[in-house]
């Protein structure tokens, strides 16, 4: 009698099959098998069908096929599956294959399913960034495009600022939402004409706040900063390179005098590799503990990005994305979901790089959140919606799309796909 076995993949394994390639990724160990052979890809396809539910029968002939035998060996070595002698079970066993499902999926609701899209929609809102003004006398080289790549200040050619009453109305509308952070940015936020009134309002506002400022704007602002209630408040301090170290030291000392050192986070903007060491040295000399380096794409430093920012396969696997993270990346962009940005021109955006979804003072917060959920292209912009990522088996292992992809005008900031 010919011997045959059940070959199975474990339910915690993520399977991706794209354009003749297959990935078998163990979400517990972070180990991945990328298979290119048509025989193996077909076998993985079969395993991944609803009919087979991760279990297939392998006969003696198949098990003697060196290609299949080697694959089975690799799977067992990674603890991603195994072989069971068929004699142990009368019927075909099955494994419950986890599938992603979204409660109140907007696409289903659009088709007229239970409930409606607007129901409890304010629970989706988590973060608001308000560019209260755009005035600044600085000359940072990252100014024009930095705010499109990460949360940072920016200045404009003609002075603009948001009406204080519009800000209050907007934030009042968010009171019942799941909002967990309000970011206040400029220009120079201290140059905002109603800064004192705004601080008075925010001091009573129950949600956590972060004030973003260029470090040079903080000089001489001890009194204004002192008026800000420290409860649930933090400061994000932008530092461009070359750093004016003596002035940064004075700012750090002032924050220490105000007892704000632990609530201050420094953001160093890096445009070339040499600046990394320079910044590390400054941070070490000034004993700054809370700081981040943010690369900035200026249009001319692609080589720097390719060498330092673009992800490689080893790094993707090092992050060991879990099955939950992979599932969330199939349905939404975890980095931008729930975030709303209001620029100093009153335009409301789900992402500073995307189309405007409303105007402050004209549209309610509820309307813009609804618009983004229904038609928007930011919160649910996952890698499987963009080329060439949608054709890549590593698509869900990759970090979600950020502002960098927009600025570099390419979605694959990696060396995995050309």
């Amino acid at each position: 009698m010919k011997k045959s076995s059940w070959f199975y993949l474990d339910p915690y394994v993520h399977i991706a099959i794209k354009q003749g390639h297959a990935l078998v990724y163990n979400t517990l160990t972070g180990q991945a098998l990328k298979e290119d052979s048509p025989v193996i890809v077909d076998l993985i396809k079969k395993l991944n069908t609803k009919k087979h539910l991760l279990v297939v029968e392998l006969g003696e002939e198949e098990l003697n096929n060196p290609e299949i035998a080697a694959f089975v060996g690799r799977v067992r070595h990674h603890f991603s599956g195994d072989l069971i002698d068929k004699s142990y079970s009368g019927g075909k066993p099955l494994l419950m294959r986890p599938q992603v499902k979204v409660q109140k999926d907007v696409e289903e609701l659009k088709k007229g399913g239970e409930g409606y899209v607007g129901e409890e929609i304010m629970n989706y809102l988590t973060e608001i960034a308000l560019y209260i003004d755009n005035s600044c006398t600085g000359e940072c080289s990252s100014c024009a495009g930095g705010y499109r790549q990460f949360l940072s200040c920016t200045r404009g050619h003609t002075p603009e600022e948001l009406e204080i009453e519009d800000i209050k109305r907007f934030l009042n509308e968010a009171q019942g939402s799941s909002l967990f952070k309000v970011n206040i940015l400029g220009g120079d936020i201290f140059a905002y004409s109603k800064f004192t009134e705004l601080v008075g309002y925010l001091n009573k506002y129950s949600k956590p706040k972060t004030f973003h400022s260029h470090y040079l704007h903080l000089e001489g602002r001890e009194e204004e900063i002192g008026r800000i209630d420290r409860a649930f408040t933090s400061f994000s301090i932008l530092v461009d390179v070359p750093v004016k170290e003596d002035r940064l030291a004075r700012v750090a000392a002032m924050l220490a005098r105000l007892g704000l050192s632990q609530d201050a986070h420094y953001l160093f903007v890096i445009q070339k590799e040499e600046e990394i060491d320079e910044v590390e040295a400054v941070a070490s000399r000034l004993k700054l503990t809370h700081y981040t380096l943010k690369p900035f794409y200026n249009g001319n430093n692609l080589a720097f990005f390719k060498d330092n920012v673009f992800v490689n396969k080893a790094e993707l696997l090092l992050l060991k994305p879990s099955l939950k993270q992979i599932f969330s990346r199939m349905k939404l962009n975890p980095l931008s979901f729930g975030k709303i940005t209001v620029l100093s021109n009153r335009g409301i955006y789900a992402n500073a790089n995307a189309k405007k979804i409303g105007v402050l003072g004209r549209d309610s917060l509820y309307d813009v959140v609804l618009r983004e959920m229904f038609n928007g292209g930011s919160w649910r912009r996952s890698r499987d919606r963009v080329a060439p990522c949608k054709s890549c088996v590593y698509c869900y292992l990759c970090p979600p799309l950020t502002g960098y992809e927009y600025s570099l005008k390419r979605n694959n900031l990696c060396n995995l796909v050309d």
Partner: protein, 59 residues
């Protein structure tokens, strides 16, 4: 892991998000058991039905 790698930057950002959610008492897990306010979260679903048939075993 390289400090400026997009993988590292995104991971830090996601961790910060999660930490903020924890501080705000919000859901971080996307799981079906979660009873936290956000409705828009992802849950596991067991492939219990295929073409209307309940799968207890497949022959």
């Amino acid at each position: 892991m390289r400090k400026l790698s997009l993988a590292n930057l995104a991971q830090n950002e996601l961790q910060k998000n999660e930490a903020n959610k924890v501080k705000g008492g919000l859901c971080t897990c996307y799981c079906a058991e979660c009873t936290c306010p956000p409705e828009y979260r992802v849950e596991y679903r067991i492939a219990d039905k295929v073409d209307g048939r309940v799968f207890v075993s497949a022959g």
